[in-house]
């Protein structure tokens, strides 16, 4: 075990897998000599050279489509998007090509590739640099969508992605990047579709995603002082979604809140709510609640930006109320 930041843990996974497998290459804007806007590839250019750490023009659609063809022909591309917001220009390639290629080819083509990018609201980045979009990707068959929250998970899940055969969207919340945490030694992988119980509790279940897992933990700390024990669940991947772990928790607590700082309608929280509403119907002692980001683009100025995401205080208050219902 060692303590690493989220970014370094992810980079270690990439570095180690690139050393193992010469088919892996990385593309993105400034991910070569510069080492990535968020240091995602720092030092790798020197090690692996320009073909494997390949700087691109501002052609998001182009290089995603290129990566699709590369995966089809036997490479393992990693696209480093810097901000996930830039991915939208490539949605056609993602939804109609990358996600459908295995299906269209009846499984004769494999699509090992990873698209990664930062998500989340914070730092006055304003509306073109604050998107998330895991809900949208989770609606699409053929994609794996992962949202690791800890350094250990990002390393283990990135490795799983790089060794798999499905296209993976890996979303890294920008406010988690410099978090430190213990990372196991050795060649471990972390599976998709297996939630993590981030904190055990018995009065209410809180499901977060990315940064809101952390916020739920902080809210749980506060509530513990009032004797309320919150069980916090980190799904780690939104597609596949490990609903079993959530259902089990709800069986125990009878109460569920999904906390998500992204948009609510047709979102991740809706899916969890729908599944638990159907399969955990008899376990529920109170209606399921969602606490979500405002249904609005992201404003720049701090007083506005703060308004639109659930704060730890609001989460704690809402969980406290739900327990009383």
């Amino acid at each position: 075990m060692k303590e690493l930041t989220y970014t370094v843990a992810a980079r270690e996974a990439l570095d180690e897998e690139m050393a193992r497998d010469p088919r892996i290459f990385v593309m993105g804007e400034g991910i070569g000599k510069r080492g990535g806007n968020f240091n995602t590839t720092l030092g790798l250019y020197e090690k692996y050279g320009p073909t494997r750490l390949c700087d691109t023009p501002i052609s998001e659609r182009g290089f995603v489509g290129l990566a699709v063809g590369a995966a089809m022909s036997g490479s393992i591309p990693v696209i480093d998007f810097m901000m996930v917001d830039f991915i939208l220009d490539a949605m056609g390639e993602i939804i109609n090509q990358m996600a459908k290629m295995q299906y269209m080819s009846s499984g004769r083509l494999r699509m090992p590739m990873v698209l990664r990018g930062c998500i989340g609201i914070g730092g006055a980045a304003a509306t073109h640099h604050s998107g998330s979009y895991y809900s949208i990707f989770s609606n699409i068959p053929g994609l794996r969508v992962i949202v690791p929250t800890t350094p250990a998970d990002v390393k283990g899940m990135f490795r799983t992605a790089l060794r798999g055969n499905d296209p993976v969207i890996m979303l890294e919340h920008k406010n988690l990047l410099s978090n430190k945490g213990p990372v196991p030694d050795g060649d471990y992988t972390t599976p998709f579709g297996q939630a993590r119980i981030a904190r055990a509790g018995k009065h209410v279940t809180a499901v977060g995603v990315a940064l809101t897992v952390q916020k739920c933990l902080q809210a749980a700390d506060q509530l513990a002082k009032q004797g309320i024990e919150v069980e916090v669940i980190d799904p780690r991947s939104t597609s596949p979604l490990d609903i079993a772990t959530i259902l089990q928790s709800v069986k125990k607590t009878g109460r569920l809140m999904i906390v998500d700082d992204a948009f609510e309608p047709c979102g991740f929280g809706a899916e969890v709510s729908a599944q638990v509403g159907t399969h955990g119907f008899d376990d529920l002692d109170a209606p399921i609640r969602r606490l979500s980001g405002a249904f609005a683009p992201t404003p720049y100025s701090p007083p506005l930006e703060n308004e639109i995401v659930p704060s730890v205080e609001r989460i704690a208050a809402a969980l406290g109320e739900l327990v009383k219902e």
């Binding site: 489509g65 290129l66 590369a70 022909s73």
Partner: protein, 321 residues
């Protein structure tokens, strides 16, 4: 002109033509369920290019892809069975006309969306570069696609990375019914190569031999590590955009007839005979062979089983080696 090559081009063009005409009939007969975009009139392009390719070279194609599939070595049986929705089709009945896949012979897919093949061919070129393979990738696409952002981004990427790729634009003057002279600020697509610093070549796309030569040079460049080439093949589809579609109001009968007079198969035959490279017997032999093959494959395809419903849910994700 070399006899072997000349006759091979002739045969392959004829194979496409006869398969397409059979598919057109089959569609009328209700055997084809979805769309059916034929390649009739444009056979010289795929034939001339694919004559240079091995199975390890890769072709990425578009909605008008039957000809590319056949030229790349997918059998008429597999193409027809696919359009007839059969489990024996090259895509096991999942794709139909616009989703032909046979990676085993380097037909990496046709696409119902215009544009992506350009990018994917660049991607295969990237794999070849990364893994040090001696292969080339080819994207076939229409004049319509050349106004799409994929054209710009894909060709520029291939240019700056010097990828072994042929970008073959089949300029048949129309995108469905929209004339390329209307839709393109400069309808000489090959001149766009200037913007990417690569060679742009204009070829008579109805002249199989000219296509063969132009593609040969582009393939040589690609294999030699000299980077991509943009080839604009000026050609024409003589049938409707898609079978069953109205084919009036956007082009004149005279225009169609003028192009029919320059039918690529006829042109090559005239040349083969005119230059005494081949004789009537050679040509007849090919017609008989191809005619029998296409009929046989059609019969076989039409009597193939349909896929089973439950298979519809397979291969969404990787299912193991």
């Amino acid at each position: 002109m070399e006899k072997d090559t000349g006759l091979l081009l002739y045969r392959n063009m004829l194979l496409i033509r006869m398969s397409e005409e059979r598919l057109a009939q089959s569609r009328q007969a209700g055997l084809v369920y979805g769309a059916c975009h034929t390649y009739v009139g444009e056979e010289a392009v795929a034939t001339g290019v694919c004559a240079h390719l091995t199975q390890a070279d890769m072709v990425f194609s578009t909605h008008r892809g039957h000809g590319h599939a056949l030229a790349k070595g997918v059998s008429p049986f597999e193409v027809m069975a696919e359009l007839y929705g059969r489990e024996t089709g090259c895509s096991q009945g999942r794709g139909g006309s616009m989703h032909l896949f046979k990676p085993e012979v380097g037909l990496m897919g046709t696409s119902g969306i215009v544009g992506p093949c350009i990018l994917q061919a660049a991607g295969a070129g990237y794999t070849f570069k990364l893994l040090g393979k001696p292969n080339v990738a080819v994207a076939f696409f229409g004049d319509g696609a050349s106004n799409n952002g994929a054209f710009h981004e894909g060709i520029n990427l291939a240019a700056i990375y010097k990828l072994p790729v042929l970008f073959v634009c089949e300029n048949n003057l129309y995108a469905t019914e929209v004339p390329s002279a209307y839709a393109s600020g400069n309808p000489d697509i090959y001149q766009r190569a200037i913007g990417y610093g690569i060679p742009g070549v204009k070829v008579d796309g109805n002249d199989a031999w000219a296509m063969f030569l132009a593609a040969g040079e582009a393939v040589r460049r690609a294999r030699a590590g000299e980077g991509p080439t943009l080839i604009e093949a000026k050609t024409y589809r003589t049938r409707a955009h898609s079978e069953g579609m109205r084919d009036v109001g956007y082009r004149t009968q005279e225009e169609v007839e003028a192009w029919k007079a320059r039918d690529p198969i006829k042109l090559l035959r005239d040349r083969l005979m005119g230059e005494h490279v081949a004789d009537e017997d050679d040509i007849d032999r090919i017609h008989n062979e191809v005619g029998a093959l296409v009929l046989d494959d059609h019969n076989h395809a039409a009597s193939s089983p349909m896929p089973k419903g439950q298979d519809a849910l397979r291969h969404v994700y990787f299912e193991g080696a």
